[in-house]
């Protein structure tokens, strides 16, 4: 396993390459940086716009650029590109189905110490509910890189939710076919499958190893294509004895709900448990692990939920 790396650098490094070849590609940032962005700003000043801490205007300016034929990437912290600009996104970008990529860093609980203003426990539900919007959530830099290729080569209205912390690579490489599939069946099992996206895929893998050591046959699925959600996923999960989803989102309309809906509609429903934030959740100081323990989505919680379901299912 390679050393942990930042998704935003992998993503922007490729956008930089693409922008060198495609002078129509314009990158806007709402005063949010990345190491990889320094080179972009220096080498391609005509294709970089500092929008100020004015995310709403950034979305409207991006719309104008796209209307005029430019390829546009909008970049900010996740809480300030999605919830703050929801109206601009809905009333302009979605209404006109403009081929713009919204890239939000620190989705979910990424800004752990910053707490409520910086959390986005609703960004998946919020963006899934938008007309025309695709939603992507990579779990590592190779996946973020593949999504950057997609953004550069097949412009469409997309929200790309990136993890803030450096993450170890799960995959040596992620291909367009992988993206088109929308998910990866990381570990094959029989008894129970843990389904996650982004940061929590790494915890799901830990749980899988713990439970395998206990003799349980546990699968793990990484869903990076949240919308559109793969039509095949329900069938795959339907082959398991039970399914557990885990997310850094409020459960209402979130990640797990989408999986549950797809299985129910496909007639593949299995015993199902969603782990995530509950309405009325509170905060405390602490890092990601402290918060996960508090919300019942840490490694031991996922393992306990899986064991408990297996007992019920038999």
């Amino acid at each position: 396993m390679s050393s942990p790396s930042l998704m935003r650098d992998a993503f922007i490094d490729y956008i930089y390459e693409a922008a060198q070849k495609n002078r129509n590609l314009i990158f806007l940032s709402a005063d949010f940086g990345a190491k990889a962005l320094d080179r972009f700003r220096q080498d391609l000043p005509g294709q970089f716009i500092h929008a100020g801490i004015s995310e709403q205007n950034m979305v409207d300016v991006g719309a104008g650029l796209a209307i005029a034929g430019k390829q546009v990437v909008l970049y900010a912290m996740a809480p300030f590109i999605v919830p703050r600009c929801y109206e601009q996104i809905k009333a302009v970008l979605c209404a006109m189905n403009l081929p713009i990529a919204l890239v939000g860093v620190g989705a979910g609980l990424g800004y752990d110490h910053a707490t409520l203003t910086h959390f986005t426990p609703e960004d998946i539900a919020a963006t899934k509910a938008l007309n025309h919007m695709e939603v992507w959530s990579p779990a590592d830099s190779p996946t973020a890189l593949a999504i950057a290729h997609l953004v550069a080569e097949q412009p469409a209205l997309r929200y790309v939710r990136l993890e803030r912390q450096p993450m170890p690579a799960i995959y040596p490489e992620v291909t367009r076919d992988d993206l088109n599939r929308g998910y990866n069946h990381l570990c094959q099992g029989r008894d129970i499958c843990i389904v996650a996206c982004g940061y929590l895929v790494h915890k799901a893998l830990k749980v899988q190893r713990m439970l395998a050591a206990e003799g349980l046959s546990v699968g793990v699925v990484d869903v990076y294509g949240i919308k559109p959600l793969s039509a095949d996923l329900a069938g795959l999960l339907g082959g398991y004895g039970a399914v557990v989803t885990v997310e850094e989102q409020l459960l209402e309309g979130g990640f797990g709900s989408g999986i549950l809906e797809s299985m129910a509609e496909a007639g593949k429903l299995r015993p199902f448990k969603r782990l995530g934030l509950r309405n009325g959740f509170d905060v405390s100081n602490g890092d990601r692990d402290v918060l996960h323990a508090k919300y019942g989505i840490d490694t031991p919680d996922i393992a306990a939920a899986a064991r408990s379901m297996l007992q019920t299912v038999g």
Binding site: D60, G62, G64, V92
Partner: protein, 282 residues
């Protein structure tokens, strides 16, 4: 420039004012839909743009590459463009008869699918940012077309307007021209009584814009102000168009309650009588 904008002389412009008010009125009463007074306050602004030799628009070619982009950010009044766009041959005039009807092209709020409508509007506070983006793209492409954006004075309550104002001034978007339709009214009453906007002139100037403030129903004043377009030393340009909401229909003028109210039969007769005399003169 080889443009075939429909440039008219002053008396023709004045006649067009009456034509436009009557056309809009009949569209609204026939279908019982639309925000007529908000349209009536900016009739002279639109006619100046499309017929006064201000904006470059090509009859029959709504997507002409070098056209100036005209965005009505106060989307509830973007329908005021419809008679003009039909006159420019962007779509059949028969569509005006089907305004707001199922299957018709023209909705109450302007839709970007209508030829000649450059972007969606209806939610306030988006047009200047969009216009700024279009201007930046034009600059990057070495094009010199302009963006004309009409906003309402009530729309200036939106914070995004001022984000965009700061942005456009920083980027020296001289090809961005904003007209504020200063008709003094929003839905519930007078702006200065409900939540004071104060001096819009001072506010825009302090944001780095070149500012003119004129009688929004005087072609001489408006055309004089539009003459400055492109001569503002790199600054974006805003024209405060001091206007009367409901202009031309006596009982609607300056009366907030008519924002989206549809007149009854007696009122329709009265309004037609009002509109039989042109409220604008040379």
């Amino acid at each position: 420039m080889g443009f075939q904008s429909k440039k008219s002389n002053l008396s023709d412009l004045v006649q067009r004012s009456q034509w436009m008010r009557r056309t809009l009125f009949e569209m609204v009463v026939k279908h019982g839909a639309g925000c007529l007074p908000s349209c009536l306050s900016m009739v002279e602004v639109l006619i100046s743009l499309y017929y006064g030799g201000v904006a470059n628009v090509v009859a029959g070619e709504p997507r002409h590459a070098k056209r100036d982009r005209i965005l009505i950010s106060k989307g509830h009044a973007a329908m005021a463009q419809y008679p003009i766009l039909a006159d420019y041959g962007f779509f059949p005039k028969a569509e005006l008869e089907r305004f707001s009807e199922p299957g018709g092209l023209l909705g109450i709020y302007a839709d970007f699918r209508v030829p000649g409508i450059e972007g969606i509007s209806g939610s306030l506070g988006h047009g200047i940012g969009m216009g700024a983006g279009i201007c930046l793209a034009a600059r990057a492409d070495g094009q010199d077309h302009r963006s004309f954006v009409v906003v309402g004075d009530g729309e200036c309550y939106e914070g995004s307007i001022w984000e965009s104002a700061m942005f456009a001034a920083h980027h020296r978007l001289e090809n961005l021209v904003v007209v504020v339709d200063r008709n003094q009214l929003c839905i519930l009453g007078r702006t200065e009584e409900l939540l004071s906007l104060g001096s819009l002139e001072d506010k825009w100037r302090s944001f780095g814009w070149d500012v003119a403030s004129v009688d929004g129903h005087s072609y001489k004043a408006l055309l004089g102000a539009f003459d400055r377009v492109g001569h503002t030393d790199g600054k974006p340009y805003v024209i405060i168009s001091n206007s009367v909401k409901g202009k031309g229909i006596s009982f609607m003028e300056g009366n907030a309650e008519w924002h989206n109210k549809i007149p009854n039969e007696q009122q329709i007769a009265r309004a037609r009588e009002d509109l039989s005399v042109n409220c604008i003169s040379v």
